[in-house]
């Protein structure tokens, strides 16, 4: 069976693009959810969309599970391989096929790096808005599969809000074209349904993205507060004011400590929380709004408020924020990132309860989060070499997720369910709703060969690794958000 399947694949790709050696396979055993690993039997490295289609159809004929993979930055284990299956690594499909500055669209292959789209658009005064923290390395194909977010979702939405068209090969072998080059569409929103499918429907081959005009001007303020509650109150005041900032972020004391150690970030002393707020738009608009924002922040009694005076200071603020996750890796040998969402008004309560639960578990937890949209990112620190610590960390993560659902939120804001949170899907959806999702899944993948074991509870458990950061994370190339 297995040899038969592999010989089919060997008919599609030359030997140097169908990796079989254990040392070659090892690099693909985990993604950025490093606590899990599984061994694929081969890694396919297609270079054309035709090869991807042929691979999927061969997998279907052989009933061979496949996992599509970009840069492997999934934090929910979304690109974790299936033992006995193959990985289809899409990194060589990295061409920007078209970029139309007049219509503000780009057509890209799935292996194109997120930031490369903005780099290609920049000479035209345009950019690609979704900005996950891993944007210097994560791929558009992965962003589409997991509907990735970033720091600017309240104003600009998630990946899904920027995908206009998708050509994909479904797990059935059918090649479909959803949406197109227009920002409007007729008929049901197939693009919207496909985006965020977590690799369970098939593989996107060509993605049409909308580009936005680059904001002319920014006003970025970093404000330190004695307590998290004061920072939270400042967020409430900003939201109630009628301003629509591009980003509202909070980092807690432990995250600040990590950012100071890692990138020498500089924060006001004696702060339990730092708030970052950014306005953006035409200079006249930002000039009119910044006075209001500065007044609200001044009234919120921060220890200190520091507006960025130039582009370099703004970048320094964001560098500290975006490095926070990998920086936390310096405080602890291992950590789990959670991704739950709570209604914004309950942020303060959520943080208090997370602190209590963390104390009860005998662990430490750093918090970095998108305060504007209530998307928490508790980083639970543990040492995988201490027996039982991973189990305690996962139990704590589970309690936090259940709290998010109880508060009326979600188990995931932007990382997806993947393998990590699949047992918590029933906390959000009742059995009939899960049945509905499963029927949809079966429509796209009747043989259950596309990224099986993700999203739905009860999948076979992959092996747990006990220790270690992702190699790219150790090198400081990627970070978790």
């Amino acid at each position: 069976m297995r040899d038969d399947a592999l010989s089919r694949l060997a008919g599609i790709l030359p030997p140097d693009r169908l990796l079989r050696q254990p040392a070659q396979l090892a690099a693909y055993e985990s993604d950025a959810l490093t606590a899990y690993q599984a061994s694929p039997i081969a890694i396919a490295l297609p270079e054309t969309t035709e090869e991807v289609v042929a691979l999927v159809r061969a997998c279907r004929e052989a009933r061979l599970p496949f996992v599509a993979r970009g840069s492997g930055t999934s934090l929910s284990g979304g690109s974790l391989p299936v033992a006995g299956g193959i990985v289809i690594a899409l990194n060589r499909l990295n061409r920007i096929l078209r970029l139309d500055p007049d219509e503000r669209t780009a057509v890209v292959e799935p292996g194109v790096i997120n930031l490369a789209v903005t780099a290609a658009a920049a000479p035209h005064g345009l950019y690609y808005a979704p900005d996950p923290s891993s944007q210097s390395i994560c791929t558009i194909g992965g962003n589409v599969a997991f509907n990735s977010g970033g720091a600017h979702c309240l104003k600009y939405g998630m990946t899904s809000n920027h995908v206009l068209g998708i050509k994909a090969v479904l797990a059935t072998g059918e090649v479909v074209e959803f949406g197109g080059a227009s920002r409007e569409q007729l008929g049901p929103d197939w693009c919207g349904l496909f985006t965020g499918n977590e690799g369970l429907f098939g593989i996107a081959l060509e993605i049409t993205l909308q580009l936005l005009p680059r904001p002319e001007c920014y006003h970025t303020v970093l404000a330190g507060y004695r307590t998290q509650e004061e920072a939270g109150n400042a967020v409430s005041a900003i939201v109630a004011s009628g301003l629509l900032p591009g980003a509202i972020e909070i980092m807690d004391a432990l995250a600040l400590e990590a950012a100071v150690a890692a990138v020498h970030a500089d924060y006001p002393p004696g702060c339990e929380a730092v708030l970052i707020v950014e306005l953006e738009g035409p200079r006249e608009v930002v000039a009119a709004d910044r006075g209001r924002l500065d007044a609200i922040i001044a009234a919120s009694q921060p220890v200190e408020a520091r507006p960025a005076r130039d582009a370099a200071e703004r970048l320094a603020i964001w560098k500290g924020r975006k490095s926070a996750f990998s920086a936390v890796g310096r405080l602890s040998p291992d950590f789990i990132v959670q991704d739950g969402v709570v209604p914004r008004r309950r942020l303060g309560e959520a943080l208090r309860r997370i602190a209590e639960m963390t104390r009860e578990a005998g662990l430490r937890c750093a918090n970095v989060f998108h305060a504007g949209d209530g998307n928490l990112h508790p980083l639970i620190l543990y040492n995988g070499r201490v027996p039982g610590e991973l189990a305690r960390a996962e139990a704590l993560a589970g309690r936090i997720l259940r709290m998010c659902v109880e508060m009326g939120g979600s188990i995931t804001g932007e990382h997806g369910v993947g393998v990590e949170k699949r047992e918590y899907l029933p906390d959000m959806f009742n059995p009939e709703e899960i049945d509905c999702l499963k029927r949809l899944h079966a429509a796209f993948d009747p043989l259950q060969i596309a990224n099986p074991g993700k999203m739905f509870p009860g999948g076979s458990a992959p092996a747990l690794a006990t220790h270690g950061l992702h190699p790219l994370e150790k090198a400081g190339v990627i970070s978790r958000e």
Partner: protein, 353 residues
């Protein structure tokens, strides 16, 4: 005349679905072609499913039953300084929230922040087996499960009947200014759309009015910032700033499709800006009018009696008029039938085609 049921609760809605082999959801009927039923089909009106269930201004979200009139939603949001940025059309005529989602219609404001698909967060719906299901979420950010809420946008009741919807809202900009830029032709409009789309001004709406004689641009933001932006735009193209009451009436007329009222046919076409001149040529040949919205990404086309919308040469969704619902539809992929079967195994809702 087919019967029309009026369930008063979501449970009654589910019962109505289970009780009849062929049903079609109808709202206020403001897109009359979408509410037309084949023989033997029972209409299920959402008229009595009308209530703002939850509105949390601090969360930027609200949840309402599907039959809630847009006007009621808009009034509640306006009272708290918020809005649905995509200007849902036909509010004045009584259009409902659910009908807007099922029809997939967005107004001029979709240019800047996106359309109805970009603001829908969650749905509660009745599937073809009469089950009441809630998918998506009630918070502004959520990635759990497949995104069925988006899929329902434009789905015309083929996969389920919407019972309740959750939306994201934004703070309403304190002021707006509308510019009218007279034109020499469709190519000039395409050039303006391209330039505006890349410019620093971040305009809120960019439309070509139904007389085809002027591009309308709307700026929205703090009152003090807008005149300077308007002057810069008028330095690039000749035109004028419309008086506030004229501007309000102009946009209201567009979102109400008042310009189309003397024509029996109204349809929706999606396009890219480059396709605009060709489409407007075809409309002219057929003796019709067109309102082009969203910077040249969508056109609403009114045609006189006797004109065949197939003459537009591209897919059209008929909103009003004696014509097929779908004109020149794109081929339906095999997956569409499989998804239809997943949500509506016995085919209670109308077929896809």
């Amino acid at each position: 005349m087919s019967p029309v049921l009026q369930p008063g609760t979501v449970a009654e809605l589910a019962e109505a679905v289970r009780a009849h082999p062929a049903v079609l959801a109808v709202g206020a009927g403001t897109k009359p072609r979408l509410a037309e039923m084949r023989n033997g089909c029972v209409g299920i009106s959402t008229r009595k499913l009308s209530r703002l269930v939850e509105y949390e201004p601090d969360e930027f979200t609200f949840t309402a039953l599907a039959g809630t009139p847009l006007a009621e939603v808009t009034a509640a949001l306006t009272a708290k300084g918020q809005y649905l940025p995509f200007d849902p059309p036909l509010a004045a005529a009584g259009a409902t929230l659910g009908g807007t989602v099922a029809a997939g219609l967005s107004g001029p404001g979709r240019f800047r922040y996106g359309g109805v698909r970009d603001f829908i967060l969650g749905v509660r719906f009745v599937d073809g087996e009469g089950r009441i299901l809630r998918l998506g979420g009630k918070v502004v950010k959520n990635a759990a499960g497949f995104d069925l809420p988006k899929f329902f946008v434009g789905s015309l009741g083929r996969f389920g009947i919407l019972a309740e919807l959750t939306f994201k809202v934004f703070p309403r900009p304190p002021a707006a200014l509308t510019l009218r830029l007279p034109l020499a032709g469709a190519e000039a409009a395409v050039a303006i759309f391209a330039a505006v789309g890349r410019a620093r001004w971040e305009v809120d709406a960019a439309d070509l009015g139904p007389d085809g004689e002027a591009v309308l641009l709307r700026l929205a933001g703090p009152a003090g910032a807008l005149p300077a932006l308007a002057q810069e735009i008028l330095g690039r193209w000749p035109g004028e700033v419309l008086a506030e009451e004229v501007a309000t009436r102009t946009w209201d007329d567009l979102t109400a499709f008042r310009w189309s009222e003397t024509f029996p046919y109204l349809g929706k076409v999606v396009l890219t800006p480059a396709q605009l001149p060709g489409l407007l040529g075809a409309v002219k040949t057929l003796g019709g009018r067109a309102h082009v919205s969203a910077g040249g990404n969508v056109a609403y086309i009114a045609l006189p009696a006797g004109a065949d919308p197939a003459g537009l040469g591209r897919p059209v969704l008929t909103l009003r008029g004696a014509a097929p619902l779908w004109i020149r539809p794109a081929p339906v992929p095999a997956i569409a039938a499989a998804v239809k079967f997943a949500l509506d195994p016995s085919g209670r809702f109308p077929a896809l085609g």
